[in-house]
């Protein structure tokens, strides 16, 4: 609707400089500059490299997003920004940009939670969120199960990883297998040529009665298995290892997500975050949700990975809910808890 506010969202919690523009829940622009190529040779995101890249990329990325949406900066009604969690120095570039835009335009500022934004983004593709829904967020930095009565105001943590994030396990196993960083897409591709049942890797915390995850033991088990084969001079069939590792991850993720749905009697599951782009996770989640009578929502891959549209989407919800805007004194909080949707 034309009278809904235009919200510009800024995301800089890791290596992507993301700018999104929405009107209500209509996506008008989603522009991303990534510094991933600069990190790849280090085998992981280097915080200072990411922070420098955000400062370089911010102004051109904002200008590109405004051009894509056919808007002038003065058309924007509100600014939303990821205030946390994430890399402190990286977050701070986005927060400083957001404050300067809000100050310069004289419009309200909304500092938002990165994880809640990953939930809110699905509304841009699939419409209003069922209340409540269960959300599973899986990425290189997070693995969380959430009960979401209202994404603008009420998000409850049900469980999270006790050690490595799911995406982190993909990166580490990729290294063991000699695949490039980031590992997720490479393992996904290699796994298509292999069998997920070839090797029985452990499923951490599968039936421990919690909704927490653990992927550190799995990563070590894969490394042991590979080293044992190498020590005995046997060839390692990378596609089988990749597929069996991936199967162990997505088996645990989907089972725990459906356990959460059962426990809280919720019939809608949303999966977000970069690992939600994994083809096997999407397929197995679909299969198991159908069997359990749970409706599954997964945003398209471009909205699952970090982006500015998700921040704008949540900002739009906050405006619609009449939430008091943030002050210009808000900090970037690298460990912002998920229970704090906005600051």
């Amino acid at each position: 609707m034309a009278d809904e506010p235009l919200v510009l969202g800024i995301e800089t919690s890791c290596d992507e400089t993301g700018i999104g523009i929405v009107r209500g829940h209509t996506l008008l622009a989603n522009t991303i500059a990534s510094s991933m190529d600069e990190h790849a040779r280090f085998g992981g995101v280097v915080p200072e490299v990411a922070s420098r890249a955000h400062l370089e990329a911010m102004t051109p990325t904002v200008e590109a997003a405004l051009a894509e949406a056919g808007l002038r900066f003065s058309d924007i009604d509100a600014i939303a920004v990821t205030a946390g969690p994430g890399l402190a120095g990286a977050l701070l570039v986005g927060v400083a940009a957001a404050k300067s835009y809000a100050l310069g335009l004289g419009v309200p500022l909304y500092g938002v939670n990165h994880l809640a934004a990953h939930v809110a983004v699905d509304q841009l593709e699939h419409g209003p969120l069922p209340r409540p829904c269960i959300a599973m967020l899986v990425s290189g930095g997070h693995s969380s199960l959430l009960l979401v009565p209202d994404v603008a105001e009420d998000v409850i943590s049900l469980g999270s990883t006790v050690d490595d994030a799911a995406g982190e396990a993909f990166d580490k196993v990729a290294r063991v297998l000699g695949l490039p960083f980031p590992g997720g897409p490479h393992i996904d591709r290699a796994a298509r040529e292999g069998s997920g049942e070839a090797i029985a890797f452990p499923r951490g915390k599968l039936d421990d009665g919690t909704l927490d995850f653990s992927f550190s033991g799995l990563k070590t088990a894969v490394a042991r298995w590979v080293e044992a084969r190498e020590a005995s001079g046997e060839a390692v069939h990378v596609p089988d290892v990749a597929a069996s590792f991936q199967e162990a991850v997505v088996d645990v993720l989907t089972r725990k997500a459906l356990q959460a749905c059962r426990k809280y009697e919720v019939h809608d599951l949303l999966i977000g975050g970069g690992v939600a782009a994994n083809s096997r996770l999407r397929a197995l989640a679909q299969e198991r949700c159908e069997a359990a009578g749970v409706r599954l929502r997964v945003p398209r891959p471009g909205l699952c990975t970090d982006n500015g549209a998700m921040v704008a989407a949540l900002g739009s919800d906050l405006v619609a809910a009449g939430i008091t805007p943030s002050t210009l004194e808000i900090p970037a909080d690298s460990s912002l808890p998920i229970t704090t949707v906005h600051v």
């Binding site: 280090f42 085998g43 922070s51 200008e63 835009y101």
Partner: protein, 215 residues
């Protein structure tokens, strides 16, 4: 002319407005860990104190460092953001030049600021307006002091090596930065874009082979 200037490259978060003739308002807080929280409210404060509106600002100037990177980026990002939204030019002025201008010295001297890791950022000046060497990053003992006075927090930190001009403020003042920028703008001297002066590469090591988990 109305120049809005600020600097976040040292523990001082400082902002000022200058109308081409004098500083209309200036506000400074020393807090090495809260640049991101303090800068925007400090800008609002100097605007309120001078009775000016952001719409009246004709140029935005940020100290471009060198200085600890996390804080430094807050000032430069803010300058770019205000420039984009207000439709006015933004510039970066070397933070050491701001300290030098604030010293008021007319004879040769050095500026040295804290670069952490037991190093200083430094530059050599012929007078308060003229940098003749630097900026560089070095250990204090490597700085060619050669009997010249040294101003800035680096001097206060390493007085045995760098001497200490305690009569000069160790931190940059946005008022001095704004006055220097206003003078350069009035003369038509070209100013740099608001880009950071880092002087060091990011700490990052290309990893070797993965660590083995079995013996």
């Amino acid at each position: 002319m109305l120049v809005l200037a600020f600097d976040t490259a040292t523990p001082a978060v400082t902002a000022a407005l200058h109308d081409g003739e004098r500083v209309l308002a200036e506000s400074t807080t020393i807090d090495a860990r809260r640049h991101g929280e303090l800068l925007a409210p400090t800008i609002e404060r100097v605007l309120a104190e001078s009775g000016a509106s952001l719409r009246d600002v004709t140029a935005v100037v940020a100290g471009s460092g060198p200085g600890p990177y996390t804080g430094l980026r807050v000032g430069l990002m803010t300058a770019q953001g205000l420039s984009t939204t207000l439709g006015v030019p933004s510039y970066g002025v070397c933070t050491l030049d701001g300290v030098a201008f604030g010293s008021g010295l007319s004879e040769p001297f050095l500026v040295a600021t804290d670069a952490r890791r037991k190093e200083v950022f430094w530059g050599r000046y012929a007078d308060m307006r003229t940098r003749v060497e630097g900026p560089f990053v070095n250990r204090p003992a490597e700085v060619p002091v050669e009997g010249l006075p040294v101003v800035g927090a680096g001097a206060a930190l390493y007085p045995e090596i760098l001497g200490n001009r305690s009569d000069v403020s160790p931190y940059p003042s946005a008022g001095a930065l704004a006055a220097l920028a206003a003078e350069r703008l009035a003369k038509g001297t070209p100013l740099d874009p608001p880009r950071p002066i880092y002087l060091r590469r990011p700490d990052a090591v290309v990893p070797g082979a993965p660590k083995r988990v079995t013996a």
